[in-house]
């Protein structure tokens, strides 16, 4: 190919490049963007490209299985190439189409496609590597499940709180009702006392009062009011104390430290004054004999 021909083939698409160059210039200086100092020349020598393709091309009449190359029927056109999901789906579909067509062609040419299950050979990825992949998948699943359960637990907790507040409100309402009932009773009693009917007061109060108390929380065990248990409680209170301040009870006060009733002079006498101690009678007869004498004495015995 001569030089002149290649020059003709070269396309000078300056319009395409002006944008990028203009940006570069505007970044450098503030002046007008009329002067382009450097121009990039696009080379797309189509004739040469065609010639090269012809030069290296394989003959067209060879069986397909020599190259196993398939061109897709639909071209990929993506609006946004940064959209990972759509892009990968397009690639997947393209490859899947090739796989399906390829299998048909191979079967037509009488080849084998799928590897039988009992055919074992070296794989591209080692067993160790596949085990790692499996472990990672398992770990991922486990972490997903853990987050799911945590989320459910959190929801449950929220719900539990709702139940709790409902219960509290209910209890408060019950209390208010009881109070209401008491006030109405009081009013009733006032009305009764005015009327002079004293006798049925006690009966009426008890009969009205019994029902809320029966279901109440502060219901006493019947045994607690028995004579035995009351005596026991009294004893215990005497022994351990009941009520009152618990703090500083064990620390000394001026009185307690001056109190000498618990002190036994006899037991706490200093050794000097104790009778019967060896310090009191130096050189006493009960002094231990010397070693040789002891040994001789033992031999004698």
């Amino acid at each position: 190919m001569s030089d002149s021909e290649s020059d003709n083939e070269q396309k000078y698409t300056l319009e395409d490049l002006e944008g990028s160059d203009a940006e570069m210039l505007s970044a450098d200086e503030d002046g007008p963007i009329d002067i382009l100092t450097r121009q990039k020349v696009t080379i797309n020598n189509e004739a040469a490209l065609k010639q090269l393709t012809e030069k290296i091309a394989l003959p067209t009449n060879i069986p397909w299985s020599e190259t196993q190359s398939i061109t897709s029927t639909q071209s990929i056109s993506l609006v946004d190439p940064d959209d990972d999901l759509k892009r990968e789906l397009a690639f997947y579909n393209q490859a899947l189409e090739a796989a399906v067509l390829g299998r048909d062609r191979i079967k037509k040419e009488g080849g084998v496609f799928q590897r039988p299950d009992d055919y074992f050979a070296e794989m591209v990825k080692s067993d160790d590597h596949m085990a790692k992949i499996r472990q990672k998948l398992l770990d991922e699943n486990a972490s997903i499940q853990a987050t799911e359960t945590a989320k459910a637990q959190r929801e449950l907790k929220k719900f539990g709180k709702k139940v709790q507040t409902e219960k509290r409100l209910e209890r408060e309402k019950a209390k208010a009702d009881a109070l209401d009932r008491i006030t109405t009773l009081k009013k009733k009693r006032q009305g009764d006392s005015l009327a002079g009917g004293d006798d049925d007061f006690g009966v009426g109060l008890e009969s009205d009062d019994e029902s809320p108390r029966a279901g109440g929380k502060g219901q006493k065990r019947p045994s607690s009011s028995s004579v035995d248990s009351r005596n026991k409680r009294h004893k215990k209170d005497q022994k351990f104390g009941f009520g009152g301040k618990k703090r500083n009870q064990k620390s000394n006060t001026a009185d307690s430290s001056a109190d000498m009733t618990g002190f036994n002079t006899k037991n706490n006498r200093s050794s000097q004054f104790k009778r019967g101690h060896k310090a009191a009678k130096p050189g006493g007869s009960k002094q231990r004999p010397g070693k040789s004498r002891r040994q001789n004495g033992a031999g004698r015995k």
Partner: protein
């Protein structure tokens, strides 16, 4: 010696008028061997990608790292020594930018791509697996038929990435497909395992009983230039949209430096302003009156 004999014989045949046998084309064999090598200064990711390609292409011959990045024509000789008629060369610059040369040695053409977004097979995200040495199906996007350049790319890829029937160490089954797609004027490389979908997972919407699982590696090839020779010669195609990674990096660095520069400018302006703002000495000031 044999070639000389053959040449002489063919000459003689021609002279004698003996017609070549017509079935010469019928017994054509697609013989491709690929020399696979990289330059010095690769990082682990590039190295893994290279070994992945070696695993996937049973007709590839891996060679030692090439010392030089300027005298690439020696790869032609290396390929010749290894009986290879194709070569894939990983040129690494600054220990981070990977350029891939694909070439038909020794006469060309050759192409240079910038490789981006590399994910190797080592990564645990891709769960597929395939036989080592099984021949794959090559899947090309229809966009590869739109211009002479893409047609040439497709032809070259078919020869370099397609595993010939006669190559050694191949296994008789086909369990993966390698796909090339053109999106955003770049070529996206994907490798999928072909499996049969279990019957219980099939739905009515499925058109086929096959499904794919990605094996890896995946990368994006951004075309830079195409030469009519092998590792040299005249440029027949140049990508006008290609921006060197150095430019990209310097742009980001400059953007970062812009803040500092503007602050320094502001300080300088303030200093100048203060210098200009000095008042002339007052003749009635205390200092002048009482000295």
């Amino acid at each position: 010696m044999a070639t000389v004999y053959k040449q002489q014989k063919s000459k003689k045949d021609k002279a004698d008028g003996v017609v070549e046998k017509s079935d010469a084309k019928a017994i054509f064999k697609n013989k491709q061997r690929v020399l696979l090598l990289c330059s010095r200064g690769v990082n682990y990711r590039h190295r893994h990608l290279l070994s992945d390609l070696e695993n996937l292409l049973p007709h590839a011959k891996k060679d030692a790292k090439l010392d030089s990045k300027s005298k690439l024509h020696i790869i032609n000789e290396l390929a010749d020594l290894n009986n290879c008629n194709n070569s894939i060369f990983f040129e690494v610059r600054k220990r981070q930018d990977l350029y891939m040369w694909l070439s038909k040695t020794p006469n060309g053409p050759s192409m240079k791509f910038h490789i981006q977004n590399i994910h190797t097979m080592e990564e645990l995200k891709m769960t597929g697996n395939c036989l080592k040495g099984s021949r794959h199906i090559l899947s090309f996007d229809k966009n590869f038929e739109t211009s002479p350049y893409w047609i040439l790319v497709k032809e070259l890829f078919t020869q370099i990435f397609g595993v010939p029937k006669t190559s050694r160490r191949i296994k008789p089954f086909i369990d993966h497909v390698i796909s090339f797609s053109i999106v955003d004027n770049r070529i996206w490389f994907r490798n999928y395992q072909i499996t049969e979908k279990p019957v219980e997972h099939r739905t009515i919407a499925d058109t086929t009983d096959l499904q794919l699982v990605e094996i890896g590696p995946r990368f994006v090839m951004n075309p830079i230039r195409t030469f009519d020779g092998s590792f040299g010669g005249q440029t027949v195609f140049e990508n006008p949209e290609f921006v060197s990674p150095n430019v990209v990096r310097s742009n980001t660095r400059n953007a970062k430096a812009e803040r500092y520069r503007s602050r320094m400018d502001a300080i300088a302006k303030k200093d100048e302003k203060l210098k200009e703002a000095v008042l002339p000495e007052d003749p009635l000031s205390e200092k002048n009156v009482f000295s």
